[in-house]
Amino acid sequence: MGLDGPSGASSWLLAAGVPAIGATAFVVWGGVVLLMRNILGDPTPLFSEAQSGAAFGWLEQVFIGLIAATLSFGWVAGNALEHAYRAESSYLSGIRAAASGLPADEAWRLERAVSTYAGDVVSAEADGGISAAAGVSLELLVAICRDVVERGIGSPQTRSTLDTLSKLLPATRQARLSAINRYSLPLPPGLVIVPLGLSLLMGATLRTSGHVSDAVFNGLHAAGIAIAATVALALVLPTAKVAVPATLTGLASPQHGAVKEGR
C-alpha cells in the first residue's frame, strides 16, 4: 500500500525497546543482588522481612498509582492529538475531493496547495513546533478556496464544500497545536518515576531462601518496574511525531487523490 503510516520503523523500535530494557534490568539488578549476597551474606541482621514489607509496600502502591496516572495521561493526550490530526486530514481530504468539481487548472492549483500544506505539517510541525512555512501554506490554501467560492467557479456543491472547509481549517490547525502542547508538562515525569522506581528496587530487596532465588526474584521485579516505567514515560514524552496518521502522510503526496485521476 502507498500509505506509510505510523506503524513504521519507530513502531518496531519502541516495541523492541521494551524486552531489551526488561532483560537488562533483570540481568543488572539480579546480578547486583547476587553479588551483594555473596559478599555480605544474608542481610537478615540489617532489617527483617516484616520491616522491609511494611516500609516498601506503600511505596510500591505509590509507584503503581503513578504509572497508572501516567498511562492514563498519555492515552488522553494521545487521543486528543489523534483526533486533531484526523480532523485536519479529513478536511484536507474533503478539499481534495471537492476539487474534482473544478476546471482542471483550478483543481491542480488546489491539489498542489493541499499537498504543500500537508507536507509542511508532516515535516515541520509534527514535533509540536509552529512552522511559519505551514502557516503560509495554510493561508494560501484558504485563499485559493475563498477565491473559488467568490468567483463562483465550479459546481455549487464544490463551492459549498470549499466554503465550509476553508473556514474550519485554521481552527483545526490550532486544535492540533494545542493538543501537542499538552505534552509540555511542568516537570519532566522521569524526574519522579525514575528515582521512585530505583528506591523501590533498593528498598524492596525482600529475601527468599537461596542466593539464586533471591537474584531471580529481584531481577524479575526490576524487569517489571523497568518495563512499566519505560512504557509510561514513552507515552508522555514528546513523541508526537509518531502519531501522524497514515491518511495525512498520504495527502502530502501530490500523486494521491481524485483530482489527478480526474484530469
Partner: protein
C-alpha cells in the same frame, strides 16, 4: 478457525508454557527452597501482580476503544453515504443515478476488497478509486435543477463520509505505540508466570494446577484484548454488511 477452536488453542498453549517452565524450575529447586521462597517471594509477586493488572486493564480498555472507534467510523460512513444518496435524489442532483451507482460500487469494493486489506493494516486502492468516483459524481453532478440547500447538505455529508473513511483506515493502520504496548503486556504476563514457577505448594500436582490456572486466565485475558484490539482481523472481525447494504441502482 472458529472462536471456540482459538479459545482452546490459547488455553492449550498457556498450559504447555506453564508446565514446561515448571518442569525446568522444579528440577533445580528443592522442596525446602520452594517453601522458603514463599514468604518473601509472595510479597514481591503481589506487588508485581498489581503492576501487571494495571497494565492489563489499560490494554483492555484501549483494545475496547479501538473496536468501538472502528464500529463508530463504519456506522458514520455508511450513514453519511446513505444520506448523500437520499439528499442527491431529493435535491435533483442525481437524475441519472450516477451518485447512487457510485455509492453502491464503493460499498461492494469495501466489502470485497478493503476488508481483507484492513486486516493487514492497509487499505484498498480499488475502494479508494471508487470512493473518489463517488465524490466526483457528487461534485460534478448537474446542478441546474438542484436547490442550494441540497448542495450544502450534500457537501457536508460528503465531508462526513471522508472523515469517517479516514477514521476507519487510521484505526486499521494502528498507532505507533500499539506494538510497544502489546510487547509490554506480553512481557509482563511472562514475568508474572515466571514468578509462579518458583512460588507455591511443594506438591508438584497442586503447583502445576495453580500455575496452569493462572497462566490460562492470563492467556484468555490477552486473547480477549487481542480479539477486541483487532477489529478487522482474527476470528471475530466486524462485519462489512453495512457497506453491502448501501443503496444503489
Amino acid at each position: 478457525m472458529t472462536l471456540t477452536t482459538e479459545f482452546l488453542l490459547w488455553m492449550a498453549g498457556a498450559a504447555f508454557w506453564a508446565i514446561s517452565g515448571l518442569i525446568v524450575v522444579r528440577y533445580y529447586l528443592t522442596d525446602a527452597e520452594l517453601a522458603g521462597n514463599n514468604p518473601g517471594g509472595g510479597v514481591k509477586y503481589m506487588y508485581f501482580a498489581q503492576v501487571f493488572a494495571g497494565f492489563a486493564a489499560f490494554v483492555l480498555v484501549q483494545a475496547s476503544d479501538t473496536r468501538e472507534s472502528a464500529a463508530t467510523a463504519m456506522a458514520r460512513e455508511t450513514a453519511a453515504l446513505r444520506a448523500l444518496v437520499m439528499v442527491s435524489n431529493a435535491g435533483g442532483l442525481d437524475g441519472d443515478g450516477r451518485i447512487a451507482a457510485a455509492v453502491k460500487h464503493y460499498g461492494e469494493a469495501v466489502a470485497a476488497d478493503e476488508w481483507r486489506e484492513m486486516a493487514a493494516g492497509a487499505h484498498s486502492p480499488v475502494a479508494e478509486r471508487r470512493f473518489d468516483a463517488v465524490l466526483r459524481a457528487f461534485h460534478n453532478a448537474p446542478a441546474s435543477l438542484s436547490s442550494p440547500l441540497a448542495a450544502g447538505m450534500g457537501s457536508q455529508l460528503a465531508v462526513a463520509a471522508v472523515a469517517a473513511r479516514n477514521q476507519r483506515i487510521d484505526v486499521a493502520a494502528g498507532n505507533a505505540f500499539n506494538r510497544m504496548l502489546w510487547t509490554a503486556v506480553g512481557a509482563l504476563a511472562l514475568v508474572s508466570i515466571a514468578f509462579n514457577w518458583a512460588l507455591g505448594s511443594t506438591s508438584v500436582f497442586i503447583h502445576a494446577v495453580t500455575t496452569s490456572m493462572l497462566t490460562m486466565t492470563t492467556a484468555q485475558m490477552l486473547h480477549l484484548a487481542w480479539a477486541m484490539g483487532s477489529p478487522f482481523a482474527g476470528t471475530t472481525p466486524l462485519s462489512p454488511h453495512q457497506f453491502v447494504a448501501l443503496p444503489g441502482l
